[in-house]
């Protein structure tokens, strides 16, 4: 426990999934992104927060929970489907106990999954009443967690900003959604993909945002040069405080070569009974069309660079977690002591932002690593404390004034992931739809409440926002679920355009409108006049 700390470590987990909601069919595999993330990341995080709270560990963590994710977590249909997902996994784990009767090691693991999914079901239904947002809100309300918001649908500002009204709307709806769920205003925002452009500052300011997170060079390449590098925030001329990602701590966790998640004792992501089990046996638990997919029941550990994987041993994995938490803890100690000696009494902040889903989904043991680390920082002798960005700027409001550099946290630091020959055809559609939305808001201002036109105009705003998710372009670049990403762009631009003409021609088809409102039912309280 520390009293005279020399610096701070600020963990930020960015929790985001694109809005996937298909009342018309249960066959969309993409829906499982949410279910996997709840079981592997969100519930384990909440469980560990609870453990820390019970053990009176005064930790600090910052999380952005994006509006699409909040909307999905709050969606009754998806909650029901998640319960169904859990029940299927419980059933499958039970079958696994029988199928692997002779193999004690696998049986133990099958029992482990059975316990885990049963526990998820209990926690989800009985503790959180099917809505885990309440869990995160609780930890924010007792001061351990700071939740920040994000762009409404994770639209990438450095591309959308050609029409500034569209980024203003992304920010406005992001803030409104946050207020709806957390009953207060957000102090910070996670810029989608850390995509920073100075043009967004005035809108961030307008909606009361105090701070943002940028990629390392968002700070290092700022104008003028920040004297403390990424180890202190900077403030833009418009008054937005920017924190930059620390390179060293990022690398330790993220690196594909020597990052923590690659430890041989950790669970192997790419071996799954969805692929390994006999086809007829596993068929009810894989894709509806019979394609083998991940079930998230995995029995092997990474082992090493070999195809012959050994069985996963949760105890060994926990040993590695302990070891690596110790390593991270020591590295921060050395880093902060060195920086403190160089910064003329100024206390450095080490900003460690990660995708939340890395913890648990990709790196299965990640939530436990955080738990051990937070406990260590609280109880062991060290010269630093955990802090949130808000606490830091409250303590140290005197900040160097600089213009952060246009940047993102995508490959190579700029916009290549979202703008390249694979996906560049999309942007003209975004820009035209954005312009048209602004045109609609100007042509049909303040339509009466409950009027059909207003209903249609609000749906136009939803369709535009959904089309703008940076996820679609990311998926196209990554060449993973490309068909789905193309479909989503076409659907939302298509629905938007169809409505645009119907509104202009005063011939809104209500049956069509009701249908797409049911499918794309994000942001029920949206007001299209944000585009005026």
């Amino acid at each position: 426990m520390t009293t005279n700390e020399k610096g701070y470590v600020c963990f930020i987990l960015h929790a985001h999934l694109p809005f996937v909601h298909h009342p018309e069919s249960e066959d969309y595999l993409e829906e499982q992104w949410l279910f996997e993330a709840i079981s592997e990341t969100y519930i384990p995080l909440l469980n560990n927060f609870k453990k820390l709270e019970n053990e009176k560990v005064n930790f600090r963590l910052t999380m952005s929970i994006t509006p699409p994710l909040l909307s999905m977590l709050d969606n009754e249909m998806l909650q029901k489907r998640y319960i169904k997902y859990l029940k299927q996994h419980i059933e499958l784990s039970k079958k696994e106990l029988i199928r692997n009767k002779g193999n004690q090691e696998v049986c133990k693991l099958a029992q482990y999954y059975l316990d885990r999914y049963s526990n998820d079901l209990h926690i989800f239904k009985d503790i959180y009443n099917c809505n885990i947002i309440q869990g995160f809100k609780y930890f924010q309300d007792i001061g351990l967690l700071e939740i920040i918001t994000c762009g409404a649908t994770h639209g990438y500002f450095p591309i959308l900003y050609l029409n500034e009204k569209t980024i203003r709307a992304q920010i406005a709806v992001g803030v409104q959604t946050y207020e709806k769920y957390f009953g207060r205003k957000p102090r910070g925002i996670w810029l989608p993909e850390c995509g920073y452009i100075p043009e967004s500052d005035k809108y961030l300011k307008e909606f009361g945002i105090q701070y943002i997170i940028t990629e390392t060079h968002g700070i290092l390449y700022a104008r003028p040069t920040p004297v403390y590098g990424t180890f202190a925030p900077i403030v833009s001329p418009n008054g937005i405080v920017a924190f930059g990602r620390d390179i060293e701590s990022s690398r330790q966790v993220w690196s594909s070569i020597n990052g923590y998640p690659g430890d041989p004792n950790y669970r192997e992501f790419y071996r799954d009974i969805g692929y390994d089990a006999p086809y007829d046996y596993i068929k009810p638990y894989i894709a509806h069309n019979g394609a083998r997919v991940n079930t998230q029941i995995k029995y092997y550990r990474i082992t090493g660079k070999t195809e012959n994987k050994d069985y996963y041993n949760p105890q060994w994995a926990m040993d590695s977690v302990e070891k690596q938490a110790g390593h991270f803890f020591d590295c921060r100690q050395a880093q902060i002591n060195y920086l403190y000696s160089q910064m003329d009494g100024h206390k450095p902040i080490i900003v460690c932002p990660y995708d939340a889903e890395l913890y648990g989904h990709w790196w299965y043991e990640g939530p436990d690593w955080l738990y051990i680390l937070f406990k260590k920082i609280y109880y062991d002798k060290c010269d630093y404390k955990l802090i949130t960005p808000s606490e830091y700027i409250d303590l140290y409001p005197e900040i160097q004034e600089c213009i952060p550099c246009r940047s993102s946290w995508g490959a190579n630091g700029y916009s290549e992931v979202w703008l390249n020959p694979l996906n560049d055809y999309v942007h003209r559609h975004y820009h035209v739809a954005g312009d048209r939305m602004v045109e609609l808001a100007h042509s049909f201002p303040n339509e009466p409440k409950d009027s059909l036109k207003r209903k249609a105009l609000n749906q136009c705003a939803r369709e535009l926002l959904l089309a703008q998710s940076s996820d679609w372009n990311f998926i196209i670049t990554n060449q993973t679920m490309v068909d789905y990403a193309h479909k989503r762009i076409k659907d939302h631009i298509g629905r938007f355009t169809k409505l645009y003409y119907q509104i202009k021609n005063n011939e809104v088809d209500e049956i069509f409108l009701d249908d797409i409102m049911e499918k794309d039912n994000i942001f029920p309280d949206i007001d299209y006049m944000i585009y005026a």
Binding site: L17, S25, E26, D27, E30, W33, I159, C194, H217, L220, Y221, R223, P224, T225, V227, G239, V241, I247, E248, S255, S256, I257, N258, G259, F269, N289, V293, N294, Q342, E398, I399, Q400, S407, S408, W409, G410, N412, Y414, L419, N420, P421, Y425, H427, R428, H429, V432, F474, I475, T477, T480, M481, D483, H486, K490, D491, G494, T497, K498, I511, I516
Partner: protein, 289 residues
């Protein structure tokens, strides 16, 4: 952050009827994509594809009862019949099919920054503007002139131009100068008389990102701080602070920043090649553990 775990998953999600529709959708997109997506490397693809695409486009516009536009009418192809599918519970589900329009028939030039050294530009000339140019300059206006992009670096105040071609509707431009304000013009020059120039349309203005530490232009003896609670501004002298002297001239270019960080983090193995390729979720390299 959509995960790549589902590499093998295909969009096998839709019921039988919808499957049919998706199939056609996919076919149509790929042909549309081929025409929309042209980089400077691939200049030639085209005239054929453009025409075939237009042809299909016309075929597709089943409901072209609108009077105004020609090709734009099919922006939203409406095939919304109200069949009830087998999956849907009692309720009628509207079957939808959409494709992105090939063009919007607007005269437009837009630039975006892909990186500090690459700008992406896309453009279109509306049919009306085309006709107006023909009216003004003669029937052979488009055949006796060639299209160019005139690039204006407003920060450094110089112009240069890049010749493009009439089959492209977008281009990637290599830029020498990062951190500059740019504006572009789409224009045409006569093939036989290159001194004649006609502007078609100009672009939005854009500032390209910076790609290096601005150490040289920063006056460290006069650093401005703002108290964000009180608004109080103070100036501080950082000329003698050790962190900065350590950073010094090494804090200048990309590889030098790397060296600086290597010094700082002696125990860590940093990969200099991938130094600026941060392994976030948005970076495909991070997904291979």
């Amino acid at each position: 952050m959509p995960r790549t775990s589902n590499k093998v998953k295909t969009d096998n999600s839709i019921n039988d009827i919808n499957k049919e529709i998706t199939k056609t959708t996919n076919k149509k997109t790929s042909s549309a994509k081929a025409t929309t997506k042209k980089t400077s490397a691939k200049k030639s693809t085209s005239s054929k594809k453009v025409t075939t695409n237009k042809a299909t486009a016309k075929k597709k516009s089943t409901s072209s009862t609108k009077t105004t536009a020609k090709k734009v009418t099919r922006e939203s192809t409406k095939k919304s019949s109200t069949k009830s599918t087998s999956k849907a519970k009692v309720k009628n589900t509207i079957l939808e099919y959409y494709d992105l329009p090939y063009r919007y028939n607007q005269t437009i030039v837009k630039i975006l920054a892909q990186t500090p050294s690459t700008l992406f530009v896309y453009w279109d000339i509306s049919d009306t503007d085309r006709e107006n140019f023909i009216k003004k300059y003669g029937n052979d206006f488009f055949s006796k002139t060639k299209p160019i992009l005139l690039i204006h670096n407003k920060t450094k105040n110089f112009y240069y131009e890049v010749e493009i071609n009439d089959f492209a509707n977008s281009w990637y431009l290599r830029m020498q100068e990062p951190d500059c304000e740019y504006e572009l013009e789409l224009g045409r020059r006569e093939i036989n008389n290159t001194s004649s120039y006609i502007c078609i349309s100009s672009s939005n203005q854009l500032v390209s990102p910076n790609d290096h530490v601005l150490f040289d232009e920063t006056d460290f003896s006069n650093i401005r701080f703002k108290n964000i609670k009180t608004g109080f501004i103070s100036q501080k002298d950082f000329g003698s602070i050790r962190l900065m002297t350590n950073i010094g001239n090494i804090y200048n270019k990309k590889h030098k920043v790397y060296r600086f960080y290597s010094n700082l983090y002696k125990d860590e193995v940093l990969d200099s090649n991938k130094f600026f390729s941060n392994p976030s979720s948005s970076n495909p390299t991070s997904n291979v553990f």
